[in-house]
Amino acid sequence: MNVSFAAQLNSVLAALILLTAFGLLAQRRIYGLLHIFALQGFFLSVSTAVVGYSAGLHHLYISALLTLTLKVIVLPYILYVLIHRLRIHKEVEEVVNIPTTMLIGIALVIYSYHLTAPIRELSDFITRSTLAVALATVMLGLLMMIIRKKAVTQIIGFLALENGLFFAATSATYGMPLVVELGVALDILIAAFIFGIFFFQIRTTFDTLDLKAMEKLKEEE
């Protein structure tokens, strides 16, 4: 595999990651979301491995493996179990104005390209053009958290955002040092347990996982 082929492959994977980020925005079924999220993790992991191979950096294989275990297997499995236990697998979320959301998403992608332009000029990595995609994935995750009103979907948005950050780390710098990557993975794992506990707390306190029920704490007029 020569370098330009690796670069092209990596661009394709970046495009696929961006596509899944948009898919998450549009998907209303909870299982659908879970599948798209796992797919995004898979693309991320493959992309990390490709970068590792073409740049000859072996620590990226570990990070690819980490992504594969955490983002494709462990987290979707935890969410799957939670969704089953909470009996919400049949719920379809009402999402208004998907076309408008998509347009905002496109604007965010363009903005990301604009924002990262100076960095692309500095970098001589094969992955430099994908940094914009990484930032766009972060922003799309943020957008998803803002427009969705269910606890589970917000968490998936949060995890997609985290995917964007991992992608940024591999595309801008060929991955963070291993200590940091492991620490971040540990934090995400702890976070997964915490939101699991949270789903049950919210359910027992509010009888629903709809966050519209949680609007008591506000400044009074």
């Binding site: 100076p118 970098s123 917000q154 801008a172 963070m176 939101f195």
Partner: protein
């Protein structure tokens, strides 16, 4: 060695207390562990004072005058809060607000939280700093929802989501910083060590670092509670157990600000301009103004003091944004005295709301007659936090004000307006609670005397006379931060 003891005690205590956290002597064990941490931190501080900055563990830890003073403060306040928590949590437990598992969880997470903050302070690796900040959030999230009331669960969820997202931005900032460093150091952990970065700060790419600073500002700024990123803070402070409110307000906000300042030093070095400082000044000023006007509208006592914390973190951020030796000295002192004063207030507020079984300010009355320590403690704390002489906050605010008049006269009126409004609001709300007759709903409880009295004495001393070692220390820290 001493570093490992310092961090190890908390970690061991976390595991131990997870099992025996509801035993009869668990609160005492909690105090002993925090006390041991404090002793270790004092030893560490003494060796830094004598020998200068320490780098150890293959460059993993870095201790200088700036972070060691915050580490001592963190260990000290966590110890006094543990003393307060003993009586406070006993009342909560006997009233059935928290159960057996809740107590075990509470004690374990308290220690883990302290561990995470100390790790964030003492590490040299900017990436590990991020991890420790996230760990500190995660450790406290479920403590905010400890009482399982709808409001508490809502507050905790908000805290989890907003701080999670916020701090994710800081990770992006860290990636950008590493990107800039990699061009100098190449692959590996070396490029994330703060000591290395600060040595070559002027060779880091200014465009990349400016962009990174925006992400750091939003990320760590969320944790500092700066307006407009502050929405989680009043909820989390008002719904969690009071000892947690005290450490969140007195310690966690400081640690987040510490992270921001460390990054600012690098950005200033790279850009050779005052851009980062201006951004911090605007955020700080906005926080002062919005928080002081919000104080006027509060009905819940803990919520009100949460807004006061936003105001004071705004003041400190403003001071570090101003830069220059005087303002930086003022900012460092302000972090110290705010931490001591605000925890005193939360101690008394916690007891006051337990005496009345409510946090509604309209139902709290006659504190001085009911329990002089709680009543006068609260009055004392409010007088101090409002910036009256002769207390510590007056000194630090005066220094910041002087620097502001000299270097940023345009900002000064707004700064003064914020402080004045906060002063008026706090007094209007607190006077009726402290004075007046004892109402029927007031019940006497056993209160923790020691932490309140110790903190009050320290605040008074710091206002009247700054010990030589402390001022020398601050001078050393100022030299590190101002170049």
């Amino acid at each position: 060695m001493i570093l490992l003891i310092l961090l190890g005690v908390n970690l061991a205590a976390t595991i131990l207390l997870a099992f025996i956290g509801d035993r009869k002597r668990a609160p005492e064990l909690n105090i002993i562990c925090s006390g041991a941490t404090f002793a270790a931190s004092v030893f560490l501080a003494l060796s830094v004072y004598e020998k200068g900055p320490i780098i150890s563990g293959n460059g993993f830890f870095f201790v200088d005058a700036f972070n060691v003073y915050l580490a001592v403060l963190t260990a000290f306040v966590s110890m006094t809060t543990a003393i307060f928590s003993r009586r406070y949590m006993r009342v909560e437990r006997s009233r059935g607000k928290v159960g057996h598992k809740g107590m075990r969880f509470y004690h374990a997470m308290y220690q883990l939280f302290i561990f995470a903050m100390l790790l964030a302070l003492l590490t040299n690796n900017v990436g590990v700093l991020w991890i420790a900040m996230e760990l500190a959030t995660l450790a406290t999230v479920l403590l905010v929802s400890l009482y399982r009331t709808p409001a508490a669960v809502e507050a905790a969820w908000k805290y989890f989501i907003l701080c999670g997202v916020g701090i994710a931005q800081a990770l992006f900032g860290t990636v950008l910083l590493y990107f800039a460093a990699e061009r100098i150091f190449g692959e590996g952990s070396k490029g994330l060590l703060w000591t290395n970065l600060s040595a070559v700060a002027d060779r880091l790419d200014p465009t990349v670092l400016s962009l990174a600073f925006i992400f750091f500002m939003v990320g760590y700024g969320t944790k500092v509670g700066l307006v407009p990123l502050h929405n989680w803070l009043p909820d989390a402070h008002s719904e969690g157990p009071t000892p947690i409110s005290a450490v969140l307000s007195g310690l966690l906000l400081n640690v987040a600000l510490y992270a921001l300042i460390r990054v600012k030093v690098l950005v200033d070095g790279a850009t050779h301009s005052h851009k980062a400082g201006y951004i911090m000044m605007v955020f700080g000023l906005l926080s002062i103004l919005v928080a002081s006007f919000s104080l006027l509208r509060q009905k819940d006592i803990k919520r009100m003091f949460a807004y006061s914390s936003i105001e004071h973190m705004g003041i400190a951020t403003f001071a570090f944004g101003l830069g220059g030796p005087v303002a930086t000295f003022g900012g460092l002192l302000h972090m110290l005295v705010h931490s001591l004063t605000k925890t005193t207030i939360f101690f008394t507020v916690g007891h006051a709301s337990q005496m009345h079984s409510t946090q509604e300010m309209s139902s709290i009355e006659g504190l001085i007659k009911g329990n002089p320590l709680v009543g006068w403690g609260l009055m004392f704390g409010v007088v101090a936090i409002a910036g009256m002489p002769p207390f510590g906050v007056f000194t630090s605010e005066f220094l910041i004000l002087t620097a502001s008049i000299k270097n940023a006269p345009f900002f000064t009126p707004f700064f003064l307006l914020g402080i004045a409004v906060a002063f008026a609001a706090l007094f209007r709300k607190v006077m009726p609670m402290a004075f007046g007759k004892v109402p029927d709903n007031q019940k006497p409880i056993r209160v923790a005397y020691v932490p309140v009295i110790v903190h009050m004495a320290l605040i008074l001393v710091l206002g009247i006379y700054l010990p030589t070692f402390l001022s020398q220390w601050f001078h050393m820290a100022v030299e590190l931060l101002v170049r």
